[in-house]
């Protein structure tokens, strides 16, 4: 969906994500103390900043290319073969059986080798032995063969080379099940390993087998997954127990490790799953059809009635003429039934209750559809807005930055703030998009939460709008300047300030939503009062105090905090009293 646009921005998106959630003040991964400081993060910022800086580049996953995967797989195989003193293909069989977990192989093997051998089909000695025979009967074709035309795996069941080759070939064509191939004898579980495959399979079959083996290493391993982006061949190894599931692949696709959908913070995986299912499912279309159309009584095709009279004519080839109200044939409509435009059969039927059920279903479907459409439209428009912003970011990097650098006599390194602003916009659009899925699933009865959520979301929308506006519109005048503009430095300060404020706002928004807006409950009446007050006045405040930080909003409910903060004139950020310059935009007090 967005992979095409993402592609050419590979490096930018990546660099963007690296320092995205790891601003000096807050750490993305640190949600432990987040619930305390969700909104009043200001005070702790200084104290914590060192710790967070130290952790900021900690990455909890590794992207693996094909050669990396093969290398790792090879290391595991030789490692196990060495430690257990078993042949290479036996090590493969074992590892595959234990989902490529070296430690599980070791544990199982050293606690009960016999049991493990039996389970995976690694026989210690043959079950049938016929040392002195010169001729054997193949167990598949039932022909007699010379000893040199007969092969068997560890069990000793004799099959001729042709039948072995056919057996192996059939199983490889069948799919990855060939990795657990056993001796053809139905009573025998002896494993058929890669050595046998390499001896008897054709070249393309061997390649296919080796590909299955590689795939198994990623797919059966709990610590690794393929990047879900279409056409991407990288895999990701994820460190167990780490917080935050967002992974940024080298192909520039950002996805959630847990559910492998695109990155979706602050919404949890379950909600995303339901939302995606809802979007893709025909159920919504069905609801729409149910609400706005009726099936043609003859050919059963759904028909939408936009306006006009009740005399319907189905599209060719059906061409059935019927009455929209009663769905009866139009030919029945005449003087007898009360005239063409007063179909009394409908009224009569409705009184008898014949249409009630169908009508009520239509009505209910219509309501639920309206609600869904509300959220879906906003979700989708933020999605397309993000795509547009990505394209603009690209345009900025490839074209405009150059022009601007000439026009304003600034080295490009001094214009980094513009790129950062656009990267911020792209990320914010992503977050904002998912808040609509969040909103859709927020329980109706949680009024306080819902109000607070809608307030936060409204502020986020308007704050981002301000940043987007500044980066898009205000920047343009500087592109056309003949000579360097004296206002450019002001613009820089403003845009950088807005970027930083918006980043902070969204980071806090993400955390607040991830905590399930727990503040609303834990702060009881206080925040309810605050949120309902704010909720009520959010329209007004959007006009005036746009993009106010959440921190300053919260100050309204706990007056005591007021004295310890000052609000920046330029960006409205609530700074600790001790600070002399704004933490966000460096504006002097």
């Amino acid at each position: 969906m967005d992979s095409d646009d993402d592609m050419h921005d590979a490096n930018d998106v990546e660099s963007m994500d690296e320092d995205f959630y790891s601003g000096e003040a807050d750490d993305y991964y640190n949600s432990d103390n987040a619930d305390v400081d969700d909104y009043e993060f200001v005070e702790d910022a200084d104290a914590d900043s060192d710790v967070f800086t130290a952790r900021r580049h900690q990455q909890n996953y590794i992207i693996l290319k094909e050669e990396d995967i093969r290398q790792r797989q090879e290391n595991d195989i030789t490692g196990v073969a060495g430690v257990l003193s078993i042949p290479r293909d036996a090590a493969i069989t074992l590892l595959r059986h234990y989902n490529w977990s070296v430690s599980k192989v070791h544990d199982a093997w050293f606690s009960d080798e016999d049991r493990v051998r039996k389970a995976v089909g690694l026989l210690a000695k043959p079950v049938v032995e016929h040392p002195n025979l010169r001729e054997f009967t193949c167990g598949i074709c039932f022909e007699s063969h010379q000893r040199d035309k007969i092969m068997s795996v560890a069990c000793g069941h004799p099959f001729c080379i042709t039948c072995w080759a056919g057996y192996i070939s059939t199983s490889i064509i069948d799919g990855p099940g060939c990795l657990t191939l056993r001796c053809p004898d139905p009573s025998c579980g002896a494993a058929v390993g890669q050595d046998m495959i390499n001896l008897l399979a054709r070249k393309e079959e061997k390649a296919k087998y080796s590909q299955y083996l590689l795939r198994s290493y990623i797919e059966d391993n709990r610590k690794t997954k393929w990047c879900p982006a279409p056409g991407c061949e990288y895999a990701v190894e994820f460190a167990a127990g780490s917080e935050g599931y967002d992974v940024s692949c080298l192909c520039s696709f950002n996805f959630c490790w847990n559910c492998t959908e695109e990155a979706h913070r602050p919404v949890d995986c379950g909600t995303v799953g339901r939302w995606i299912m809802k979007n893709s499912a025909e159920s919504e279309n069905m609801n729409w059809i149910l609400a706005n159309s009726k099936p043609c009584p003859k050919c059963k095709r759904p028909i939408e009635k936009n306006q006009g009279c009740m005399h319907m004519t189905c599209t060719p080839p059906c061409k059935f003429e019927f009455c929209w109200l009663c769905l009866g044939a139009w030919t029945d409509h005449g003087e007898r039934t009360g005239g063409f435009y007063a179909c009394n059969r409908y009224e009569a039927a409705k009184q008898e209750g014949a249409y009630d059920e169908a009508e009520r279903r239509r009505e209910m479907a219509k309501n639920s559809l309206e609600r869904y459409t509300h959220y879906y439209e906003r979700w989708a428009s933020n999605q397309s807005s993000r795509q547009k912003a990505l394209a603009d970011l690209h345009q900025m990097q490839t074209v405009h930055l150059d022009i601007l650098s000439d026009a304003q006599c600034q080295p490009e390194s001094q214009l980094k703030f513009i790129i950062e602003a656009w990267q911020q916009i792209v990320e914010c659009r992503r977050v904002l998009k998912w808040t609509y899925a969040y909103g859709y699933y927020l329980a109706e009865y949680e009024h306080a939460k819902k109000q607070f959520f809608e307030y936060l979301q409204g502020e986020a929308e308007s704050g981002l709008e301000r940043l987007h506006q500044c980066a898009e519109k205000e920047l343009h005048q500087f592109l056309d300047d003949e000579s360097p503009s004296s206002n450019f430095n002001d613009f820089r300060t403003k845009l950088a300030g807005l970027t930083s404020v918006t980043r902070n706002y969204f980071e806090n928004l993400v955390r607040a939503l991830e905590n399930g807006l727990s503040d609303v409950e834990s702060h009881g009446g206080c925040s309810r009062a605050a949120s309902s007050k704010n909720g009520g006045s959010s329209k007004a405040s959007r006009g005036g105090g746009r993009g106010k930080g959440i921190a300053s909003t919260r100050a309204g409910c706990s007056r005591t905090d007021d004295a310890s903060h000052w609000s920046c004139d330029q960006c409205t950020y609530a700074n600790a009293r001790s600070a002399t310059t704004c933490k966000m935009c460096q504006h002097r007090r």
Binding site: G139, I140, F142, F159, T162, G166, T170, P186
Partner: protein, 161 residues
């Protein structure tokens, strides 16, 4: 079985043909107890009579199995169905399809018609109730147009019967 699926079937490969000849000879010398091969000159389709084992729910009953062999038999499993009327059994559908793993996923080229027959008889004999599978109607409806049971994704959830 519709004529279309019968004609679309490819002739037996040489290997398959040889192997079936051998199986047939072996069958004539040593037929599995309770089964009778109805001799035809069609090597690719065997019709086999099954007699319910004495002392079981199917004692004194006779059914007919139809075994069709694919081009690459025995690498590929034969298609085995009951000709109507199919026995009432929790794993046998009214269209004659049999839910038995060795006929599908667990087939091995080292198995034979004879060993398949014995498995089917043992499946019949261990049944404690004469009834159709729970999803019989749905399944049979899905199998119209002469679909082969080998195209079904079987779910072998019960190995008791």
């Amino acid at each position: 079985m519709t004529s279309s699926s019968a004609t679309s079937r490819k002739a037996l490969s040489k290997i398959a043909s040889n192997r079936l000849q051998k199986e047939l000879v072996e069958w004539q010398v040593n037929p599995p107890v309770g089964f009778k091969h109805k001799v035809t000159d069609n090597l690719q389709r065997w019709v086999i009579e099954v007699n319910g084992a004495p002392g079981t729910l199917y004692a004194n009953e006779t059914y007919q199995l139809q075994v069709d062999f694919p081009e690459h038999y025995p690498m590929e499993a034969p298609q085995v169905i009951f000709l109507p009327p199919a026995p009432l059994h929790p794993h046998i559908y009214s269209n004659g399809h049999i839910c038995l793993d060795i006929l599908y996923d667990s087939w091995s080229p080292a198995m034979t018609v004879s060993s398949v027959c014995i498995s089917i008889l043992s499946m019949l004999s261990s049944s404690t109730v004469k009834q159709r599978p729970e999803d019989n109607d749905r399944y049979v409806k899905n199998c119209r147009n002469g679909r082969s049971p080998k195209e079904t994704r079987w779910w072998f959830h019960d190995d008791k019967v």
